[in-house]
């Protein structure tokens, strides 16, 4: 079957159903990236709405908006969603959107596995949230501390969905990580050595390395909990000799590298956006790479700083405090390098750069409060208070989410071919920035005033009412900013200004091809001679991007778009429905563990059938545009 050299937005040939079928069977990393993006955005909005409801309850002392049961479910699912369905897949979103483009590859190493990762992510997310519909979501906090998450203390079916959902999501995250690591190791364009890779690629490399070593540990902890809940094992049964610290250790052995899994994509985005908009190369490339490596390695040695108050004793506390404080050093190096990149540049105040600058600012604040709880005595006053809530929102919202906004304004036009509106973007930025600080800065003070986290109510005499009201107002301003963003996104799909192939005067290879790129990405695999490959080409050889200049019309691909006679033959991976079926099988089996063994059998049957079909199905389709 010959496939036209189409783009992501080419008109559907056979109507709606055929369009849907194309998306369901797609194995193109760019389309999968968009699927990831919209799904993550949906979960982000859902988790945000949950937070807004929580803030209503906390706005006043002794409020009765929510019952404690509902409050606990809402805050648990807010945290779980933000960590596992927004932050963790951030790496997959951006890796799918741009990683192959940045390293000059035509696709990922295993396109069908990539599709599988997405579908498992989708079904895992649904499974995780299914508790709401089945009679109550999980309510032990996103950390799911045992023994409270075991059956004697948490009977709710939401806990079962939470455990199965996270196991399934872990499979998706790991599959994605394996796939991209192979892609990075094995599919770089000729000349792109490791030390010539864009820093975004390096950041994602480190993220995926962390994923493949951290997620198995979480999976084991979840399996213990699952077995305890369903099959009567005794891992966390204190009466039988079980120990509650086992969960905490396994969870945080995963959980702290997870923190870097969440924040490193942000570092990558900053390291691309800041040089582009300062018109300067990144300052200290090698130290940036070294710093990320150090963060990744140290990231595995700090987990018990989440357990300073559990009574580990001075030796344990000292050791983990030491390793934690060491992390401040590579982090400081990164911040200074970004500053030095801006220094002496020509900074264009476009929306991606505004978000990037704000990210650095907020991340500094989050990092400094993190430095405080690295000191065990101080942590004993801050642990489990709103100070900690403030800290991780500064690093995860101020750091990761703000950077994701920068990344979306920067790269989404590459995939959709249309820019987001600059004016709306600035509204989005300022509302978000002001709302964010109004929401999360006072939380530092609340924590210092002794307000524990995860409480659904507080008495008036505690003196926390005024600040909480301020926070709630801030949260709604923040929400307004997000609404503007959502509108901007939808608007750009129809009315956005055409992006052209290189709207930002970019530095890396993705800007050398049309927006949206053709299915095969690169007409001809580029040969790389240094860092910032595309920038060098533009400077030295005065090359115009393929498909027109920066204001070119994406719907009228230029001459360079058509394969000339004698051009190489490109084989594309064949679209396949099997990844979707396989993911469905896994999800059905997951539901089966909760309800009935027969359903497990059904799910496994679907899964095995899909695996067999996968093995038999030829992975490739015919040539794309060999000139007959």
């Amino acid at each position: 079957m010959a496939v036209s050299a189409g783009t992501l937005r080419r008109p559907a040939e056979g109507g709606l159903w055929s369009t849907v079928w194309e998306w369901l069977t797609t194995v193109d990393h760019k389309r999968i990236g968009l699927l990831y993006f919209w799904t993550v955005l949906f979960w982000f909005l859902l988790a945000g709405v949950e937070a807004l409801i929580l803030r209503l309850q906390l706005a006043r002392p002794d409020a009765g908006v929510l019952t404690p049961a509902v409050y606990n479910q809402l805050y648990t699912m807010h945290g779980t969603l933000m960590v596992f369905l927004v932050g963790t897949p951030a790496a997959s979103v951006f890796a799918n959107m741009v990683l192959p483009l940045m390293i000059g590859a035509r696709d990922v190493a295993f396109p069908r596995l990539n599709a599988l990762s997405y579908w498992v992510f989708l079904f895992g997310g649904i499974l995780l949230n299914a508790g709401w519909l089945a009679g109550g979501a999980f309510d032990v906090g996103w950390t799911g501390y045992a023994n409270m998450s075991t059956r004697p203390f948490t009977q709710s079916i939401g806990a079962n969905f939470w455990v199965m959902g996270l196991i399934v999501l872990g499979l998706s995250t790991m599959a994605s990580a394996f796939n991209f690591l192979v892609t990075i190791i094995n599919m770089r364009a000729p000349g792109m050595t490791l030390m010539r890779m864009p820093l975004m690629v390096w950041a994602l490399t480190v993220v995926f390395i962390l994923v493949i070593f951290a997620f198995p540990v979480l999976t084991v902890a979840l399996i213990f909990l699952w077995f305890d809940r369903f099959y009567g094992t005794r891992f966390f049964d204190v009466a039988a000799g079980g120990n509650v610290f086992l969960w905490q250790h396994l969870f945080w052995v995963f959980g702290h590298p997870e923190v870097y899994i969440l924040i490193l994509p942000a570092f990558g985005i900053l390291s691309e956006v800041i040089p582009t908009f300062s018109r300067k190369p990144i300052f200290g490339y090698s130290t940036m790479v070294l710093a990320m490596g150090a963060i990744a390695f140290l990231g595995f040695s700090v987990w018990a700083h989440h357990m300073f108050t559990t009574g580990m004793g001075p030796v344990g506390n000292f050791a983990f405090s030491l390793s934690t404080m060491l992390i401040a050093i590579p982090t400081g190096v990164k911040v200074f390098n970004w500053l030095a990149t801006m220094w002496g540049g020509r900074i264009r105040w476009r929306v991606p750069m505004l978000f990037a600058g704000a990210t650095v600012l907020l991340f500094i604040l989050g990092g400094l409060s993190g430095m405080m709880h690295a000191s065990p005595p101080i942590d004993s006053q801050q642990q489990d208070t709103y100070f900690v809530v403030a800290h991780f929102h500064y690093v995860l919202f101020g750091g990761l989410v703000m950077a994701m906004f920068a990344g979306v304004y920067y790269w989404l036009p590459k995939l959709t071919g249309r820019l987001l509106d600059e004016g709306l973007g600035k509204w989005h930025f300022w509302l978000t920035f002001i709302g964010f600080n109004l929401t999360f800065f006072p939380m530092h003070i609340l924590g210092a005033l002794g307000m524990p986290r995860r409480i659904y109510t507080y008495p008036a005499e505690a003196g926390w009412g005024g600040l909480n009201l301020l926070i709630t107002i801030g949260a709604y301003i923040l929400a307004l900013g997000i609404l503007v963003f959502a509108y901007n996104l939808l608007r750009s799909l129809r009315k956005g200004e055409p992006a052209g192939s290189d709207p930002w005067d970019g530095r890396t290879l993705e800007w050398s091809i049309p927006s949206p790129p053709p299915e095969y990405n690169f007409e001809e695999i580029p040969v790389v001679h240094g860092r910032d490959a595309w920038w060098e080409q533009k400077r030295q050889r005065r090359v115009a991007p393929v498909g027109g200049g920066s204001n070119g019309d994406p719907h009228a691909p230029g001459e360079g778009h058509q394969p000339g006679p004698g051009r190489e033959v490109i084989h594309l991976p064949k679209p396949s429905i099997i990844p979707l079926v396989l993911a469905l099988g896994l999800a059905v089996a997951g539901v089966g563990t909760i309800y009935h063994p027969a359903v497990i059998a059904l799910g496994l049957a679907i899964t095995i059938g899909a695996i067999v079909a996968w093995a038999i199905e030829p992975p490739l389709q015919g040539a794309v545009h060999s000139k007959e």
């Binding site: 906090g141 400081g332 500094i364 101080i378």
Partner: protein
């Protein structure tokens, strides 16, 4: 001195002052971490100022640099192409050195404190066992035996003599809790199956607010308690009164309430020292009339609130182990009258 333009506008000054006042009133919070009325909290506070100082210094200077760069190097029409700087070994080494120095400044005092807090409690320390329950606190004074030979027990209020070190051993009866009285000491988790320790010396008399800090289920928010630090002789008097505790002479409503207490099985869960009420499922009720609140400080200790609690405990405190006994109004008012005599 030149007044900065911002401060020349009265509106901004007014805003600034009201924000400052808001912060000040907020500091009146009875559970704040800046009190330092215990030796541990005081040491932590010293460390706290050091870290806040270091953080402010780093934060203000780096953010100032960032903002300077952002504004100073903003693209202007006619600006030339910036110089392509790829790095600078000396500067990059400086990036490495600056955080290292700052880390050392805050780390060394922190670690010294860690080992100081880790020392064994002094031999004269008051031994108290703390047991966390869903959702109330039990305090067992191991040094003082009651009339029955068991340690004295109090519920949700911990009595301590001022100036004497106290060595807490913490455990939990069900899930993980965390014992936290911010003005006296940092928190320590109370775990099921494992014992943790917390040693501190209260330095000033007074009532201190405490709260469970580790999420422990449905009514985690209502697991509050008080620490009452008394002058030494007053503490001794409290101990003696508890050791020789008997029911006060009862009459009228209160007498009726004691009958209801036994008839409706309250004694199956609650203890009142010196009586046949020996239940250990709920908090010890001896001296409940002098407590600051009821149901682990979920409600203030007034007759109306006590009555509300007795009428339907799970409605006040979701998931409460104390069931709704469907008491009649007469039974409730009798019980309230009876409990009011337990000073």
């Amino acid at each position: 001195m030149r007044i900065p333009p911002l401060l020349r506008r009265p509106r901004w000054v007014a805003w600034g002052i009201s924000l400052f006042l808001l912060l000040l009133t907020a500091c009146a919070s009875p559970q704040n971490t800046f009190g330092g009325q215990g030796d541990q909290a005081r040491t932590i506070l010293g460390l706290y100022w050091l870290l806040i100082g270091a953080a402010l210094f780093v934060g203000v200077s780096v953010i100032a640099l960032l903002l300077y760069a952002f504004f100073r190097f903003r693209e202007r029409p006619g600006a030339g192409e910036p110089k392509e700087v790829h790095g600078n070994t000396a500067l990059e080494f400086a990036w490495f050195l600056i955080p290292t120095i700052i880390v050392l400044i805050v780390a060394i005092p922190s670690w010294r404190t860690v080992f100081r807090f880790g020392q064994a409690p002094p031999p004269n320390a008051l031994q108290v066992q703390v047991v966390g329950h869903q959702w109330w606190w039990e305090f067992r004074y191991l040094d003082y035996k009651g009339a029955d030979g068991n340690p004295l027990v109090s519920g949700n209020e911990l009595y301590l003599p001022v100036g004497r070190p106290v060595a807490l051993t913490l455990r939990s009866a069900d899930v993980i809790h965390s014992f936290w009285v911010p003005r006296l000491a940092g928190k320590a988790d109370a775990n099921p199956g494992v014992t943790t320790r917390l040693t501190f010396t209260p330095l000033e008399t007074g009532t201190y607010y405490g709260q469970c800090a580790e999420f422990c289920g449905l009514s985690h928010a209502l697991m509050r308690f008080r620490v009452k630090v008394l002058p030494a002789e007053e503490f001794e008097r409290w101990v003696q009164s508890r050791q020789a505790y008997t029911l006060p002479p009862l009459a009228g409503e209160a007498e009726k309430g004691w009958q209801v207490f036994q008839a409706r099985g309250c004694n199956a869960c609650h203890t009142i020292d010196g009586t046949n009420a020996r239940g250990i499922i709920g908090p010890n009720l001896t001296g409940i009339a002098s407590r600051d609140g009821v149901a682990a400080m979920a409600l203030p200790n007034t007759p109306e609130d006590l009555a509300r609690w007795l009428r339907n405990p799970p409605a006040v405190k979701a998931g409460s182990k104390m069931p709704n006994l469907n008491l009649t109004d007469e039974e409730i008012s009798a019980l309230v009258a009876f409990l009011a005599t337990l000073k």
